[in-house]
């Protein structure tokens, strides 16, 4: 037998060296300590001051020891739970684990029947959730759009109410303010049974977005405080644009974005030590011709990979971005751009990779893009899983037994391994030409559309408790009342 045998469990990918990460890390701390951010929330400024930050009007500078202490408190690893207790739908966040899901906010949607683009409405939310629930490589849920046919202040509430009953996978919610935050939380707590039960097994994660460059807005912080007080795991993620609201260089945008995140981190840990906190965002470039943020740019994959490594270096999980495209339809471009970002997030270990299903530079959500990316994620995961090298897999005795000009099709070794060694595609066609021709010459797009329509026709997510359904009705009614 062999000793001193070091193996790779999964592939190894590094965008940055340890020295580069250390450099970036201290660059972020320097920005927080010497430049500081504008904090537009009185209570937040007080919390920071009490914790030891230097407050000068709206400008807050955070000394590096305070940031590092906050980083040390935040967990690298935690679990988001399936609301129905299905262990397969639990999300274990931790080193080496990349997860994927859609995103919020697209104003438009690709209609699942007509395939036409139209505004996103509240009836689309259950559809998205059902598809998320059914797809094997999608791990968490977001609405894939912003509902346009309800009062603007209630959008997030309707989105959560539409997702929660239709998938048992964890949800990332993006409330607008304290009121819909309260409503969303009420629903989740109802299903969990109590606030204490929810704290032990959180089923949703709460997203806030500060403003680049270096502005912690009132809205973002008000929401952060709400989530922290109730121990809801928190995402605090800006969306800077290189060359616009952030430096154009990858190193620069990473530093600025991290500083924006760690300001929120400091407040959150001061309120609730040990609160699960996820940094990240959508960091990309502006396209020089269209002047829009490029969701399919290779720079996105590049920057997000670097930011992921910085997050992990600092001990935080990462809110990554992938599976999105600037294409206006499900075509070769959508697959190239979406696969590239999914693959690089898988390589970097992006803890929660969102925006899967974004098309048209995040203006249009598409469950078809989502379903096609499910395949790209499965593909990427087979690669990042790597190769096992041990006596059994080296198969020297099998090679000897088969010998020159033999074959392996009937070997016991083959039978033992083929199911686990080979990935089975759901949407890739591997027939020969004659059979593919005889079966209708489908493209992957055809098969993706068929798969989505099949899921919507037949998939049954597990139901929520009747009590929770009642709470949803109540919450929505109260909210409607409030805005009247």
């Amino acid at each position: 037998m062999r000793t001193n045998y070091r193996v790779n469990s999964g592939v190894h990918f590094h965008m940055l060296s340890e020295d580069q990460l250390e450099e970036l890390f201290w660059g972020v701390l320097q920005t927080l300590e010497q430049t500081g951010l504008e904090v537009q929330h009185d209570q937040a400024r007080d919390i920071l001051k009490k914790a030891g930050a230097w407050v000068d009007g709206l400008r807050v500078r955070v000394p590096s020891y305070l940031v590092r202490r906050s980083l040390a408190l935040a967990p690298r690893s935690f679990t988001l739970f399936a609301r129905d207790g299905n262990p397969k739908h639990n999300l274990h966040i931790g080193p080496g684990r990349a997860h994927f899901g859609p995103g919020p906010t697209c104003p438009n949607f690709i209609d699942v029947e007509s395939l036409e683009r139209r505004p996103y409405v509240k009836n689309d939310v259950p559809l998205v959730a059902e598809v998320v629930d059914a797809l094997p490589n999608i791990d968490f849920c977001e609405p894939l759009g912003a509902v346009s046919d309800v009062h603007p202040a209630l959008g997030a509430l309707y989105e959560f109410s539409g997702m929660f009953p239709n998938t048992s996978k964890p949800i990332a919610a993006w409330p607008h303010n304290k009121f819909d935050s309260a409503g969303i939380h009420q629903i989740a707590v109802a299903e969990a049974g109590s606030q204490a039960a929810f704290e032990q097994r959180p089923t949703y994660i709460y997203g806030c977005e500060p403003l680049s460059p270096l502005v912690s807005t009132f809205e973002a912080l008000d929401k952060l405080i709400f989530a922290a007080e109730r121990r809801v795991p928190l995402i605090f993620a800006p969306c800077p644009t290189a060359g616009g609201t952030a430096p154009v260089t990858p190193a620069g945008i990473i530093i600025q974005g991290a500083a924006e995140a760690w300001l929120g981190l400091t407040i959150a840990q001061a309120i609730q030590p040990g609160l699960p906190f996820i940094m990240g965002g959508v960091f990309t470039v502006m396209d020089m011709d269209s002047m829009s943020r490029a969701y399919g740019a290779p720079e996105l994959s590049l920057i997000m990979a670097g930011l992921t490594e910085l997050a992990h270096y600092a001990g935080l999980p990462m809110w990554q971005t992938g599976g999105c495209t600037d294409s206006k339809m499900l075509d070769g471009q959508a697959m190239i751009e979406g696969s590239l970002s999914c693959f690089f997030s898988a390589l970097a270990g992006g803890d929660l990779t969102h925006a899967v299903g974004y098309t048209d530079s995040a203006m249009t959500g598409s469950v078809f893009q989502l379903a096609a990316m499910d395949e790209a994620i499965g593909y990427s995961r087979r690669i990042t899983r790597g190769i096992e090298v041990n006596e059994d897999t080296l198969a020297v005795d099998v090679i000897h037994h088969v010998g020159p000009n033999g074959h392996y099709l009937r070997e016991k070794h083959t039978r033992r391994h083929y199911k686990t060694e080979f990935w089975r595609p759901n949407l890739c066609d591997r027939r020969n030409f004659e059979e593919w021709d005889a079966m209708g010459r489908t493209t992957m797009k055809d098969r993706t559309v068929a798969r989505v329509q099949d899921i919507l026709a037949s998939h049954q997510p597990s139901p929520i408790k009747p009590e929770t359904q009642a709470v949803i009705h109540q919450v929505l009614a109260e909210a409607e009342e409030r805005v009247r």
Partner: protein, 499 residues
């Protein structure tokens, strides 16, 4: 005073590995064991003799083959003279491939029986004109570094198609070519053609303008043609790609590690034999290694296992210090659709990340039976994107821009700042990828990516290009092809096989 950092190690590019060094060694020592205990079947007497004189064990000799077993010390001796770097140039030296560890080059694939018509998309057998057109495409695409035929010429004599193929490629591109040869006579003819193209036999030494593709059969079988080509190549300083195409589950173990062991055994045999014949003979090893799809029985070109295996093998060749033949830009789709785009994107990214030297088969679809010009053009753009990511993230005072961040401050804007102006030239510019708003895209015709790609293919093919080979040289080259046809005409069938 500006103090520069010391003791600062940088990833100038991202790094990627599948196997640990210990795992590479495990595969290597297993291959040595198979080479010694199992052996390989060799169907060429001269090859057997060379191996035998070098110390190999020869047994079980039948009328057409022997079982040859290679002890480990023979491999060590061969590795001592194995070149770590191989150079292949184009015929006019404008393009050059320096093949050594982590230098990546991309290229097409060879000998597909079918091709997709660039204008109609129809699948049909490849012709001389197709091979020439595909070479012209390769010439025009900046991220294609070397070229292979992407089609078997099937409107010429069947037994001599390799000479016609080479001529068609020479007409279309000045990039380095990886040729195939029907047999030794075909190789001999193509070498003559190369000498003509280079302007003389002496020019070959200054930089060979082709490498030869040689493919032993898995498992563990080296045919007469394969061994003859190997020996000839060693004798004539022709760099050759020695690549088995093991099929995990069918002609190789189902486990990827086992397939790597078997493929390495086959490759090491090529190394040992070539170095015995001529120390310093130039090889490039690797291969198309993939799995059999256990539902459809096909040899997968687009599977993640293909990408993973190839990447693992690349690491083994880097460890052995020999140039590598990787695979990427290929798919099992039957046309350039979303599946082709996805498979090519991920397998190209994987091959580039791990540092494969000759990343071939760009443009292959349908399990390598059909070539697609659309796939080629799209892959060129994919490679461009991947290369951008491979540029890594420079971390310097300039790029971190702490002073700029401080200067602009909360709520400020970077667009007009000097720093942005200076650095925005580094941004990636799309070619066929479209980032227009919905409205503008609709106004421009609501085109799918595939359509833009197709238009670009036609644009390239319809463009007027200067002939790369002048009339006099063409005549000389053509003559070699004709002479070959005449020598082999009795081997042709009475009927027309194709077309």
């Amino acid at each position: 005073m500006q103090v520069k950092k010391t003791n600062y190690r940088v990833n100038a590019t991202p790094t990627f590995e599948v196997l640990s060094e210990d795992e590479i060694e495990a595969i290597y020592y297993s291959a040595l064991r198979v080479l010694y205990e199992t052996g390989l079947r060799v169907y060429e007497k001269e090859g057997v003799e060379v191996a035998y004189s070098g110390g190999a064990i020869v047994e079980d000799t039948t009328k057409d083959s022997s079982l040859v077993k290679i002890p480990p010390w023979m491999v060590d001796r061969a590795r001592a003279t194995l070149p770590r770097k191989v150079v292949v140039t184009g015929p006019n030296r404008k393009y050059c491939m320096e093949l050594y560890k982590n230098q990546i080059y991309f290229g097409t694939g060879s000998d597909t029986p079918f091709t997709l018509d660039p204008y109609t998309g129809q699948r049909r057998r490849a012709t001389y004109q197709d091979v020439k057109n595909l070479a012209r495409l390769a010439e025009a695409l900046p991220n294609i570094d070397f070229h292979m035929s992407l089609g078997i010429v099937q409107d010429s004599a069947v037994g001599t198609y390799d000479r016609w193929q080479y001529l068609a490629m020479l007409e279309g591109t000045n990039k380095p070519i990886n040729i195939t040869a029907v047999d030794l006579d075909g190789l001999h003819d193509q070498l003559e053609m190369a000498y003509i193209r280079l302007g003389g036999k002496e020019e070959w030494k200054k930089g060979p303008c082709f490498s030869l593709y040689i493919e032993p059969v898995s498992p563990l079988s080296h045919s007469k043609e394969v061994v003859q080509k190997l020996l000839f190549s060693a004798d004539h300083d022709i760099p050759f790609v020695y690549t088995p195409c093991p099929l995990a589950g069918a002609t190789a173990p189902t486990t990827l590690a086992g397939t790597a062991v078997q493929a390495l055994t086959e490759s090491l045999f090529g190394i040992v034999l070539s170095q015995l014949r001529k120390p310093g003979a130039q090889l490039i090893i690797g291969g198309l290694m993939s799995n059999m799809d256990m539902l459809t029985t096909v040899y997968c070109y687009g599977s993640p296992e293909m990408a993973l295996l190839s990447a693992a093998y690349t690491q083994i060749t880097k460890w052995l210090e020999v140039p590598e033949y990787e695979t990427g830009g290929c798919s099992d789709a039957k046309l350039f659709d979303e599946q082709a785009a996805m498979e090519a994107t991920i397998n190209l990214a994987t091959a580039a990340l791990v540092g494969g030297n000759m990343i071939h088969d760009v443009g292959y679809i349908e399990q390598g039976l059909t070539s697609s010009p659309d796939m080629m053009v799209a892959s060129d753009e994919i490679i461009d994107m991947v290369k951008h990511i491979l540029g890594g993230i420079p971390v310097t005072d300039e790029t971190m821009a702490l002073d700029v961040i401080d200067e602009i401050g909360p709520g400020g804007h970077y667009r007009e700042h000097d720093h942005t102006t200076r650095w925005k030239t580094e941004l990636w510019r799309p070619k066929l990828i479209n980032r227009q708003s919905w409205e503008n895209w609709e106004l421009a015709g609501s085109k799918a990516y595939q359509q833009r790609v197709r238009e670009r293919v036609i644009e390239i093919l319809d463009a007027d290009t200067q002939p790369l080979v002048d009339e006099a040289m063409y005549k000389e080259l053509h003559r070699i092809c004709e002479l070959a046809d005449a020598r082999h005409k009795d081997e042709e069938l009475d009927i027309k096989m194709f077309g």
